[in-house]
Symmetry: C3
Subunit: 138 residues, 3 copies
């Protein structure tokens, strides 16, 4: 049983920038040589999140719009602390969650054909991001 | 340390069909013979999700209604891509999330007495579903 | 490869009480002596949840307010079953989720500087809570 740590680095545009990280995870899995186990992917920071979706332009647009409706940009108490106007970014990230775990079976991350692992940068500006990809298995 | 992969197959009615999969997970855990470790449960596909709740008819009804309010059925950009009218199904699934991990201690999945593992099929039609149940431990 | 189980006990005020459990998780990690692997943290019960945020008073207030808006206290079908008036607590908990998994690298839980692990008690009264902290690794 082995533990293998890899990192993904991304440059994002912020403002609910949705990025498909599936190819990166698959590449790191091959490097890890793990055939059966799990992979945990976690964001570092509190204004971005991970989930899955069918990665196609319509849904990417829908994701931006649904969060503008659920937790709009606006005035939040958080702004009193830092004044950086990204209270909505924090709240959206906490709602979606910072971390995902998937099974690895026979050398593959198990996902649906139309299911991609997406990183959503909810911050209100461009960011350079690091994700941790932790493989455990044999 | 062992890795044991099992699958759960479900026939759902779609439209926020809420199914208690706790008995299935417990059964697969017994088969796995793992006593201490973790279990990761993941959906295959992008229009269903996993979480926990007290599985009783009132809350099952509430879950349907709360998602009808938060992310109503309607017109989404996703429909331009496929025309299958399930943009809301995708968005709800991305919000709830595709995957859960629980501790296994002394041969049991640790949950509260009134806490069940639920699979929610948000698609807008009947579906046959496969879940992956990945056990790791000793 | 080892599995180490620890517990965190909390007394909460309920009503979206947000508690930073990062120091507890770090303390348990030291006890576990695990250097590389993962930690899974899970709530026991169906009216509380786990996520991450920047733990500062403004955001804690924002979290309370955003959930009052998204899933307000009110009349839910769940009340017909138990009459305890906490339908909103269940629904909020199912939405945020019961469980988180993080990577452990070189003896540290990987989180951002302004990213804390938070436990949110959504129940409508004071509660004593138990969380399971499951470490796996080497």
């Amino acid at each position: 049983m082995a533990v293998v740590t890899r990192y993904i680095h991304l440059s994002t545009k912020g403002n609910a920038d949705v990025m498909d990280i599936t190819p990166d995870v698959v590449e790191k899995l091959k490097e890890s040589r793990i055939k059966n186990g799990i992979v945990n992917i976690s964001v570092v920071g509190s204004t971005s999140a991970l989930t899955t979706c069918e990665y196609e332009p319509g849904l990417v647009e829908d994701i931006k719009e649904v969060f503008d409706k659920l937790i709009p940009q606006g005035r939040y108490h958080h702004d009193k602390t830092w004044g950086d106007g990204n209270g909505h970014s924090h709240l959206r990230s906490s709602l979606v969650g910072p971390s995902l775990t998937f099974p690895i079976v026979k050398g593959e991350v198990i996902l649906g054909t139309w299911q991609q692992i997406i990183f959503v940068d909810f911050d209100n500006r461009k960011r350079n991001r690091e994700l941790v990809v932790q493989f455990m298995g044999e």
